[in-house]
Amino acid sequence: MSKVTSMRDAVADIVHDGDVVAIEGFTHLICFAAGHEIIRQRKRDLTLARLTPDLIYDQMVAAGTARKLVFSWLGNPGVGGLHAIRRRVEAPAGEAPAGDADPAPLELEEYSHFGMVGRYTAGASNLPFFPLRSYFETDMPKANPLIRPIRSPYGEETVYAVPPLKPDVTVVHAQRADADGNTQMWGLLGCQKEAAFAADRVIIVVEELCSEAVIRADPNRTVIPGLIVDAVVVEPFGAHPSYVQGAYDRDNHFYRDWDAISREAETTQAWLDEWVYGLSGRAEYVEKLGAERVASLRPSGTAPSGSVDYGVYK
């Protein structure tokens, strides 16, 4: 049965107020199209989980969708800070930041990268915790009491544990999937597999819908099976200004521009009005971006992988 649907219907049916939502992807394959649709549908009180909140959660926080962030690195990579989030976090107690859509304090739950990856891994494997050699002699367990030391049952060693993270919804952007949601991706894989298996519901967003035969011709490249997928949305350029390996480049100019746009609440809201609320969806966004900008982000050449032979065994 085909799970192909529109972004509007996928978000309306699958994302609910108060959900824990993970739009994962480490620099690569971040689904801005889904984030923007969540903003447009004015979802509220979300807990947003991601290793790097990136511009997508800065925008979603500025739009008032979130009450809490679960994360490990809060910045604009290579550029600086995330200003909408910082306004909410650095506001003096009792003083609401002026101009942002949601003036309430933003709750933070903070880990390291490995801690976040471990949380998804425990969530995906139905384990009560994930052990790791990190956090020793740091202030991180004080800042987040959910990071706890545990003694090895096999010796004197102590390691730290982090609790499972099981998002209500995980959104994964990928190069291709079939109509059932069998999903293939290449390039940096981040922790999308772990985040998807840990989630109650999964939305897959792809550049291209492919046939089941394409999937079956290269089973090693399947990262997420249709078994755990609830909806498949076909949304070309849906990761911009993030990127898709082999399809389009990261729009570093936009990442730099966002630094200026987001410094003031007013300019942030004006941007959201123009680029999110003012558009019906990703197709209009791509049209507004313009053919020239889109063309400038295409790879400068191709670098196809060699093919492998799986063999036929009868």
Partner: protein, 277 residues
């Protein structure tokens, strides 16, 4: 890593013999100094900005066998352009392996395969403990910084930690506001005991390169100025730290960047001068 604009325009001339003198920037001196320290190292965990250029320079000069690991999941990367982010597509194309972050942190880093991890921070203390989380109180910070990312586990599991930071009274402090990444804790003896008891693979920080000089860590676990960059003075060094620094005697001057090192940085690694002007 964003570079202060002020630093991008500051240049000085090397106090070297006339035949070799060439203008170079503070950033270029930092890159060259860090790259030379990578001689003999095999696997290096890279960050964006100056560390990225330093590691690529080392690969082209003193450490041709160096394997570059990016926390985003690329191993054996050969970036064809300077990446703005550590997740740039150029670190994937042509890499030895593109792995999940679970594999990268579990098998490569925690498994003990990383020789050198590069870290930066907003604050460092004399023992090389690092803060990249908050300035001020954690609950009500004056400045909210990015946080750990992978820094905390890199500091604990990479064999050696290299730090690249500019000196200032605000960054080289007597007490850091938050310990994100452990260095030599309160001194070498305690740090060695705790590392042994808890099975850390890392031996802690071994190098700090600043805009003024090169520091290693002495037997007590404290930073010691082992080399001062051409043009810098001890007065400048003291005026930009929150404690009285230990200084090697005699104190050599860091050899200035060679014409070949400068050519590689300017023509190949950072042709737009994004980080090095």
């Amino acid at each position: 890593m964003s570079e202060p604009r002020r630093a991008l325009t500051e240049r000085w001339a090397a106090e070297a013999p006339a035949a070799e003198s060439a203008a170079f920037s503070k950033s270029e001196m930092m890159i060259v100094a860090a790259a030379r320290e990578l001689v003999g190292q095999r696997v290096c965990f890279v960050g964006v900005g100056l560390p990225n250029i330093a590691v690529n320079l080392a690969r082209l000069t003193v450490a041709p066998e160096l394997e570059l690991v990016y926390e985003s999941g690329a191993f054996g990367a050969k970036p064809a352009r300077l990446p703005l982010s550590i997740g740039d597509p150029t670190i994937v194309t042509g890499a030895t392996a593109a792995v999940s972050m679970f594999e990268l942190f579990s098998f490569y880093l925690q498994g003990g395969l990383v020789d050198v991890g590069f870290l930066g921070a907003a604050q460092i203390d004399r023992y090389g403990n690092l803060n990249s989380t908050v300035i001020g109180d954690y609950e009500h910070p004056k400045t909210r910084l990015p946080g750990s990312g992978g820094a905390c586990e890199i500091a604990i599991n990479a064999r050696h930690v290299f730090v690249i930071m500019r000196q200032s009274k605000r960054s080289f402090v007597d007490r850091i506001d938050f310990r994100t990444s452990p260095g030599n804790l309160g001194g070498a003896e305690t740090a060695a005991r705790i590392r042994r008891e808890q099975g850390w693979l890392g031996r802690g920080p071994s190098l700090v390169v600043t805009d003024l000089g090169i520091y290693h860590f002495d037997d007590s676990g404290e930073m010691r100025l082992d080399s001062i960059h051409p043009g810098a003075t001890l007065e400048q060094v003291r005026a930009t730290m929150g404690w009285e620094p230990r200084v090697a005697e005699p104190l050599p001057i860091t050899p200035a960047p060679t014409p070949e090192e400068l050519r590689l940085i300017r023509d190949e690694l950072d042709p737009e001068g994004a980080y090095t002007k």
